[in-house]
Structures are given as C-alpha cells and as structure tokens.
C-alpha cells in the first residue's frame, strides 16, 4: 500500500483513466445509481421526509454524543457486554490481539467492517498467527487478492466476473467459472465450515442504540448474522459516532439506508445483538465485546464545520455519484475510505495531514450532498478543508502537468492576482464580444480559446452570473472562506 500523497494520487488517477477496461467496470457499477435512487424515491414519497428525520436524529446524537455514549455503555454492560474504549487504532488493535491470544483463537471470521480496515486489524492478527477470514463475498474476494476494498459497500467493484473466476480457480482450486451463481456457491461452501469452526467473530456495527444498549448490523448476505451467532467470542468494532438515542429512531435510518446505498427497500438482514447467549440457548456468543473507537473523531467533533462528517452512515452512495470517484476508482485515493466522504474524514481519522490534498480532488459539483441519506454538506466541508490546508500552509505539491497547462496557469495566476486589471480586461472583452453572444453565452471564441468553445459555450465576460460574482468579489474583501463560515 502506497502512502497517500498528491503525486501518488495523480499517477494512480492517470492510470485508471487510461485503463479502458477498469473504466467500463466502474461505469457499469456506478453509472445508473442516481437513476435507481430517483426511481426508488418516486415510488416512496416519504423518502425525503425520512431523510430529514434521519438527519435530525444524527444532529441530535452528535450534539449529545458524550451523554449518549455513557447511556449506551450502562445499558450494554447491564446485559453482560464488555465495552472497551480505544483512543486510537493501536489501542483497538492491541485489545483485540490480546483477546485473541487469551482465548487461544486460531481462526477468526469477519463480517464487513470499515472500522477494522481503518485500524488495520487483519495484519495485526495474521502477524500474531491467527487466521483471519473475511466472509462478505466482496471482502473475501479482495482479501484473496491481497488488496484493499475499492468501495465502501461494494469492495470488489473494480473486478469483473472473469477476474473473480480466475482468482477462485487459482486460490481455491475450484473449476473455472465466470457465472456469479457458481462463484457465490463456491465461496459459500468454503466459508460455511469456517463459521462453525471459528473461535471468534469480528464485525462492524451500523447503529448503537443508547436507550437499549443494542448493536444493530445491516447486511444482505447473512454473514454478519452468522459471525455474531456461531462463534463463542464476538467482538464488534465501531466508531463513537454510530450511537443513536432511541429505539424508535432506528426506523428512520432503515427507511433511507438501503434505498440510498443499493436501491433496496430494506437489506435482507437487520440484526440486533443484545448481549451474550443465555442459558439453554443453542447459539450466540458466550462473550460479547465492543471496541468503541475514537481515533480522531473527537478532533472532528471540535471543528463545527467538520463535525457534520460524523453523521455519515457509510452507505457509499456519494462514491457512486462522484464524477471523480467514477473516473479514478477507489484505489487511487490511497486511503481506507475513498470518494467524497473519504476525502473529508480521512484527514482526521487516519493520516494526520497526509491526505489534505484530497479536498482539492473534487469539482464541488454537490452530487454527494444531494444523494447523502443524511444530507451531509460535503462540498462545504471540502472548501473548509481547503481553507484549513492553505491557512496551515500544508505542503501540497501536485506533480507538474503538461507545459502548455503550466504556462496558462501561470498567466491566469498573474492576471487574477491583479483584480483591477482583470476586471478591466473582462469588461473590455465583454464589450468587444457582445455582438457574438447568444443569451449571454459565446459559442465561439477566437484562438487560443477556440478549443474551449469546441466543447462548451463560454459565458460573456463581465455580464450575467459572471459579472454579478465579480461585483460580489469587489464588495467582499474577505478571504475565500467567507461563504463557508458559519
């Protein structure tokens, strides 16, 4: 795994954009997402109401976070659960590795969990001689390939059925097939025995309910339910921001989560984990642990703009609609959480300043905010992070582009840092070009700008929204974050 930095992101993006086959796979997997969600919302009028409710509950939960976590802990422990608070990734890893050692665990089955990716748990367990098996089909596939998931909810989005057929043939010695049914059956068969043999199950969590001390897991395959039902020791790992106040709040999230993530009304499974197994119960863990992870989240809480990123439900929809993610794919970001949400949470969660450049890898088109089930204002947070990076003078060095672009950028910087001259030239150009304009737009510009108007119209300089924004710029002498500030 490369360290995330601007040069690596740039090179990886170029590589993906040039990889015709990979682009087709990404396009096929994400292309119709907006359409599906729109169809689903049309068929379910309360969708937007439920989104607003979910956002309201998240706002309340984050504002009352310390009290809710204390309430959750009381109720969870009253049922016999054991809660461990981990300040950072290392503490979380050590607790789980120690636990596996104490239980003499040889085999661990894992449900899908981005939090365990975040703390790089698998490597720590493997190093300690514990076999760790991902059981979500997509996660199992990327684990066999020794890769990281390239999407939050569709980890193997970058692979074709042929890729997976070859992988299974090679690693599992199954007869080659590229039929998804047959491939799924192969994985099911391999993993079935492991669920029963596993000493420990490790899973992620979608919601913690403060009122009842319940963990709630949302999934389609049944592997989350297997992982929390069959092994004797179950460890759930999740961020502090997953707590919600009341049981009655849950339905708002269930009504929007699957619809936004996959276009389903509801996932096949919603599982409540409520303490260890009781007397005469056939199944369920003898011990239930929860690792509650901070790892930078309190830092996010302290920033009133960034705080909103803690509403995230990890549905992955913002990836599917992002014009950047759809072109460069998840691996290019070099972070555990890719895409728009990854660009705003990675700086605080994982890399301590190393991912500040990702805030610049966005067109600020706003599709992510629109699709988000809790309407996180991702573009505003991106602007905020850009401002922070500039204020703090973080060294973000992008690799040099082609000479022509560098030269144009130099000329633009020269001109735009002389606002009076720029405005004067813009007005002059506006006057000269006015006879050519249609509805305030130019369909053709003289060289060297002809290349632009070949693909899109250019707004008449000094007029329309452009002119208006120039007048605004004249009145506001504030720095660029004026529209961002709360």
């Amino acid at each position: 795994m490369m360290e995330p930095n601007p040069a690596a992101f740039y090179r990886a993006s170029e590589k993906t954009v040039a990889d015709e086959a990979l682009r087709r796979k990404l396009e096929a997997a994400t292309g119709r997402h907006l359409e599906h969600v729109a169809q689903m919302a049309a068929a379910f009028p309360p969708y937007y109401q439920e989104k607003a409710e979910a956002r309201r509950v998240k706002a309340e939960a984050i504002n009352r976070l310390p009290d809710l976590l204390a309430e959750f802990k009381r109720n969870f422990e009253a049922k016999g659960g054991r809660l461990f608070f981990a300040r950072d990734a290392a503490q979380a890893r050590n607790y789980i590795v120690e636990l596996a050692r104490a239980k003499k665990a040889k085999l661990v089955v894992k449900g899908k969990s981005m939090a365990t990716e975040e703390i790089e748990l698998n490597d720590a367990l493997l190093k300690d001689g514990v076999e760790v098996l991902e059981t979500d089909l997509g996660e199992y596939i990327v684990q066999l390939r020794g890769e990281r998931p390239s999407h939050i909810i569709t980890p193997a989005i970058h692979l074709s059925k042929e890729d997976i057929g070859r992988l299974f043939h090679e690693k599992l010695q199954s007869p080659y097939s590229e039929d998804p049914e047959a491939l799924t059956a192969t994985a099911r068969q391999h993993l079935r025995a492991k669920f029963f043999a596993a000493d420990m199950g490790i899973v992620g969590v979608n919601f913690l309910i403060a009122e009842t001390g319940s963990l709630v897991l949302v999934e389609n395959e049944g592997n989350g339910r297997m992982s929390t039902t069959l092994p004797d020791v179950v460890v759930a790992v999740t961020g502090i921001e997953k707590v919600i106040p009341r049981l009655a709040d849950l339905s708002h999230f269930l009504e929007v989560l699957a619809r936004t993530a996959t276009g389903q009304k509801l996932t096949a499974y919603v599982n409540f984990v409520n303490g260890p197994r009781r007397q005469y119960e056939l199944d369920g863990p003898r011990e239930l642990h929860l690792v509650l992870l901070d790892n930078g989240r309190t830092r996010m809480l302290a920033d009133p703009v960034l705080r909103e990123a803690l509403y995230c439900l990890r549905c992955g929809a913002c990836l599917n609609v992002c014009p950047i993610y759809r072109r460069v794919g998840g691996h290019a970001y070099g972070t555990v959480y890719p895409g728009p949400i990854g660009s705003i949470i990675s700086p605080a969660l994982v890399h301590n300043g190393q991912t500040a450049h990702l805030a610049f890898a966005s067109t600020l088109c706003g599709a992510c905010k629109d699709i988000c089930p809790v309407s996180i204002n991702i573009p505003r947070i991106l602007l905020h992070l850009r401002w922070l990076a500039t204020e703090e003078g973080l060294p973000i060095t992008w690799p040099a582009g082609p000479a022509r672009i560098r030269a144009s950028a130099r000329r633009a910087v020269w001109l735009l840092s002389r606002p009076k001259l720029a405005r004067m030239l813009s007005r002059l150009a506006g006057m000269l070009l006015r006879p050519l304009a249609h509805d305030g737009y130019l369909r053709w510009l003289p060289p060297p700008f002809t290349a632009w108007t070949k693909y899109r119209d250019f707004p008449l300089p000094g007029s329309g929204p452009n002119g208006a924004s120039q007048r605004r710029a004249k009145e506001t002498t504030d720095r660029a974050d004026s529209e961002v500030r709360l």
Binding site: A28, R55, R87, E181, T184, R188, N220, D294, R299, R307
Partner: protein, 231 residues
C-alpha cells in the same frame, strides 16, 4: 477517572468550544421525534406483504387455518424432497399438527429448543446438516415484505439462518404497515433483550458485477406460510 470518562470529558469540551450548529442547516434539534404517517395506505396488509416478498423471490403460501398449514408444509416438504426439518417451540400457531404431518410423510423433525450445554455441539452439527428450518415469525412488515423474529432459547436464531431452506409460519393478523410500527407491536423490552432479526427475502449478494445471487450465506429459499385464522 477511567479512559472512557476522560474521553467523554474531552468530547464535552470539543462540543462546548464550538457553538451548536445553525438551525436551518442541521434541522431543528428538538428531541421529540415527529410522527410520519404510515408508509402504506393499503388496507389489505397480507396482500401487500405477499407482493413485496414475492418481488424479492420469496414465496408466500396463503392458508385459512392451522390444519391447512400442516398440509401445505408437508406438501412443500415433499416437493422440495426435504429429509430433515429443525423446529423450536410453538409461538402462537400450534406446531403439533404440523410435526405430526411431516412425520407421516417420513421426514425427520427435531427440536433445537432449550438446549442443555452438553447437547449444544451435537445439535449445532445436526442443524448445519438438516434440509430446512421451520419457525414462526413474531410479526411482519407489509411495506417491505419483512419478517421479524424475536429469537429466544425456545426458538434460537439459527433456525431462520443456518438451514438452506427457511419455512416461516406467519399469522396474518401480525402484519403491520411499516417498520416504525414494529416497535409498538413487539414492545421495546422484547427488542432490548433478544437477538431480534428483520429478514427481508432470502440471503443475497450483488458483489460480483452487481448481479443479484440468492443464498450468499443464509437460506437460498424462503417460504412463508401465512395463516389467516388460528381457529
């Protein structure tokens, strides 16, 4: 102070330093959840439930009473060539007739209810190898075709999870319009104490090129026997 309490104090500090977010951006922060109207206005909840579940490739068998349920399940077991069926204790619908009928058809029926510790290992293996699990749902949701189970030692959660075929008894009166209504029907005590599961169709995955495949890890097939009257 424990680590946890220190952390909570830091979170309080973090929230205190910055004022609460703007109302218009973050919605009203009032605590009482507002009430939404039910998500389905269908008056015929069983029909809506059946339609939703069938769209997810689950099957619904509509029967008038428990006696007919016994016939339907036995016939289903025969057509699927089931060898053995795992059950728990009865909930509202009496299982006696059904078990009797299945045994008449030569099918091995065994119980995994209230298992003493020394028999756990053996019954886990037996459950893993059986052909179907039969269990009653505590309620169901019409708008999404969801079955809700409240597993207890009498009806362990594996019954609707481990066997490749899941047969579910459902009393038609126990179908509620939407998810929000589930809490009021089951009560928050039941949902706080037991490993509740919402099950919507057979287990599925779309991890390979977004193609939907059933039976990823849980049941590949789901049959709901909907009983109109217990009389």
């Amino acid at each position: 102070m424990s680590d946890f309490e220190t952390a909570l104090a830091e979170m309080r500090q973090a929230l205190y330093r910055a004022p609460r977010p703007l109302e218009d951006d973050h919605g009203s922060l009032q605590e009482a959840p507002s009430t939404l109207s039910p998500h389905t206005t269908d008056t015929d909840l069983p029909t809506r439930f059946a339609r939703e579940l069938e769209s997810l490739r689950g099957s619904v068998i509509d029967v008038p009473n428990a006696e007919q349920a016994a016939f339907a399940i036995a016939e289903l077991a025969r057509s699927l060539e089931l060898r053995s069926v795992a059950i728990g204790e009865s909930l509202r619908i009496d299982l006696t007739q059904i078990v009797q009928k299945l045994r008449e058809y030569g099918i091995d029926v065994f119980s995994v209810a209230r298992v003493p510790e020394e028999r756990r290992a053996e019954l886990r293996v037996k459950l893993a190898e059986c052909s179907a699990g039969l269990v009653e749902a505590d309620c169901a949701v019409a708008a999404s075709g969801t079955l809700v189970f409240v597993p207890t030692p009498e009806r362990p959660r594996s019954l609707s999870l481990v066997p490749p075929v899941s047969i579910v008894l459902l009393e038609a009166d126990r179908i509620v319009p939407d998810l929000a209504a589930v809490v009021s029907v089951l009560g928050s005590d039941a949902m706080r104490a037991n490993p509740v599961a919402f099950v919507t169709g057979p287990s599925r995955t779309a991890d390979i090129e977004k193609r939907i495949v059933l039976g990823a890890h849980g049941p590949k097939a789901l049959y709901v026997v909907m009983v109109r009257s217990l009389g």
